[in-house]
């Protein structure tokens, strides 16, 4: 195999060689395109405001400057950044818990149960899953303000908990990897329906629980539009908080120059802080991700 490959490579015509070089060039160009902003963010967080503008973009900063940026971030409005991060964590995790409790049984029943309305529910789930989540933000805001929930943590947690994509992932998982016979065997052995779910289905469901948990957490953490409307002010999560910081950056907003002003590198540190949790999860669960994204469609 490798011998034939080597021979073929030696026989490359100039044209084919040029084609290959172009392909490599395109691939490398896009690697650079996707990576540069992130690398730059890491570097910029460690520079003083002055160095950021005067030194080259990839010239590393110093730990002392990183510490200075960090302290100016945490002293901004008495450490409100921790409050934002706390809000984000609270909303994301609470919604994640509710999502798991509601979507796993639902996906299970849709895959292996048999009841009236099953097909309708499945089709509705698919249609809603494919709607961009921002499309429902204003309607949800109008609804929540009619019941006076705006500003309360529930105004973020409850809408986050509705996660049709999770139901679909669970449905696909159970219908492809858990045979009905297995459940029937448990039933014959005298298991009730709850026992079948708890003792047979749940132990097999660990991969999909992790998958749904991952996607739900990332979606909640990164959501901007919904919490921007439903939990404004002190209830803001970090994504909304970032834009609040932004309006205190004199470089972008000259009228903001005052005692509480935020310098650019501080904003960079805050951005880094906002993306770190998800970035870490990404790095450690690469395999999950690919599995989840391709699970979207199984029918060819």
């Amino acid at each position: 195999m490798s011998a034939t490959r080597r021979r073929r490579r030696r026989e490359l015509t100039p044209g084919a060689w040029l084609g290959r070089a172009t392909i490599v060039l395109v691939a490398v160009f896009f690697v650079v395109f996707f990576v540069i902003p992130i690398v730059w963010l890491l570097i910029a967080s460690g520079k003083s405001p002055h160095d950021l503008i005067t030194t080259g973009p990839f010239q590393p900063g110093t730990l002392a400057d990183l510490a200075a940026n960090w302290s100016s971030l945490v002293t901004f409005q008495d450490g409100i950044v921790f409050r934002w991060l706390g809000n984000s964590a609270y909303y994301s995790v609470a919604a994640l818990a509710i999502t798991l409790v509601t979507t796993i049984p639902a996906g299970y029943a849709l895959a292996l149960g048999d009841f009236r309305g099953r097909k309708t529910l499945l089709t509705t789930t698919l249609v809603v899953m494919l709607i961009p989540n921002t499309a429902l933000v204003l309607p949800i805001f109008l609804e929540l303000s009619a019941v006076h929930l705006i500003g309360k943590p529930l105004a973020a947690i409850l809408p986050f908990s509705f996660f049709p994509f999770g139901v679909y992932l669970t449905y696909i998982y159970f219908s492809t990897s858990v045979p009905r016979d297995l459940l029937d065997a448990a039933r014959i052995d005298g298991c009730g329906e709850f026992a079948v779910f708890r003792r047979v289905a749940m132990p097999l469901a660990t991969p999909v629980v992790a998958l749904v948990g991952f996607f739900s957490f990332v979606a909640n953490w990164n959501n901007y539009f919904l919490p921007f409307l439903t939990v404004p002010g002190k209830g803001s999560p970090i994504q909304v908080g970032l834009t609040e910081l932004l309006s205190n950056v004199p470089a972008f907003n000259p009228t903001a120059a005052g005692v509480t002003s935020i310098e650019l590198p501080t904003l960079a540190v805050a951005t880094l802080l906002a993306v770190t949790p998800v970035l870490l999860i990404f790095l450690f669960s690469q395999r999950f991700l690919v599995a989840g994204l391709t699970a979207g469609g199984t029918k060819e």
Binding site: A16, I23, A27, F30, F33, F34, P37, I38, A44, P57, T102, P105, Y108, A109, G113, F115, L121, T123, V127, V128, L130, I131, P132, A135, L136, L138, F141, L142, L158, S161, F162, P164, V167, I172, S175, F197, V218, N222, N223, F225, Q239, V240, L242, T243, L246, N253, L264, T271, A274, V275, L279, F282, Q286, V290, L293, T294, G297, T298, K299, E300
Partner: protein, 281 residues
């Protein structure tokens, strides 16, 4: 029994899917003092001097974005799929995918830096295009391209992974047969891989079209950062926001939301029913 299992989910689906839709629809058809208003809210929104420009902005952005997304994602997926060494192929895919972690406001804030020639890591590129200041970079004529680049940066990786998965489902024998018949990489791509990817490409196109009409966080953050050089009413969702929060016109806001929702719902329902890509048994 199954009803117990689905009950929690159905409750949420009703509360945060069906109910808000119906409520927005109802609000869009009533006046601010209550009472049936017919299509008044829709007409008022439609005739607002900012409405048609916003439609134009969104259309320009979606146009630039869709074309670049379709062409580049397909090309990059083919390239990644053609890389022989497994570890290399999966690492490249992962690198393309990483920016997906930075969705939401953080990616836009990061791009503020990239677009500002005084601090940008690619300031040489920006200067080559003649942009010396942030405000010049985000001048209105550039915005569709700027937003398309930001959206591509965060979103393309996910689609590349999806397309790669679809390419993997093409039987090896088919590709082998093409190679024996003397087809090179380009002809294989054009005559075998692309036709087999058609469903997935149209899926990507429809989903991105629906998502593109929702443009909000990018113009919102850029507008804040540029002192409204990027207008506060650039996109339709921004306009709906202004209706609700600056003019206290909840009914007009609901009308815009309903129009956007109808577009998304129509595209999504069309695809679920006609696309045949998803398992509905």
């Amino acid at each position: 029994m199954s009803y117990v299992f689905v009950s929690g989910y159905v409750l949420f689906a009703l509360a945060f899917g069906v109910l808000p839709t119906l409520y927005a629809l109802w609000m869009s058809l009533t006046g601010s003092q209550g009472g049936f208003a017919g299509l008044d809210n829709f007409v008022r929104a439609w005739q607002d001097f900012r409405f048609l420009p916003a439609v134009g902005h969104v259309a320009a952005f979606v146009g630039v974005w869709l074309v670049s997304l379709l062409v580049l994602v397909t090309l990059l997926a083919l390239i990644v799929h053609a890389i022989g060494r497994r570890w290399l192929s999966s690492s490249v895919r992962f690198v393309y995918y990483i920016p997906g972690a930075l969705a939401g406001a953080s990616s836009v804030v990061l791009w503020l830096f990239v677009l500002d020639p005084t601090v940008s890591p690619v300031s040489a590129v920006l200067r080559a295009f003649g942009f010396e200041t942030f405000v010049q970079t985000v001048s209105p004529g550039n915005l569709p391209v700027v937003f398309a680049i930001i959206a591509f940066w965060t979103g393309a990786g996910g689609w590349i992974v999806v397309m790669y998965g679809a390419l993997n489902s093409i039987p090896v024998e088919v590709l082998e047969a093409a190679r024996i018949d003397g087809a090179g990489a380009v002809r294989t791509a054009l005559h075998i891989q692309l036709p087999m990817l058609r469903k997935w490409i149209s899926y990507m196109a429809i989903m991105s079209l629906a998502a593109g009409t929702q443009l909000f966080v990018e113009p919102r953050v850029l507008s804040q950062a540029s002192h409204a050089v990027v207008p506060v009413d650039y996109s339709l969702n921004q306009l709906a926001y202004l209706f609700a929060f600056k003019q206290s016109d909840l009914n007009g806001s609901a009308a815009i939301a309903v129009m956007l929702l109808v577009v998304s719902l129509g595209l999504s329902a069309f695809f679920v029913v006609r696309g045949g890509l998803f398992e509905r048994d």
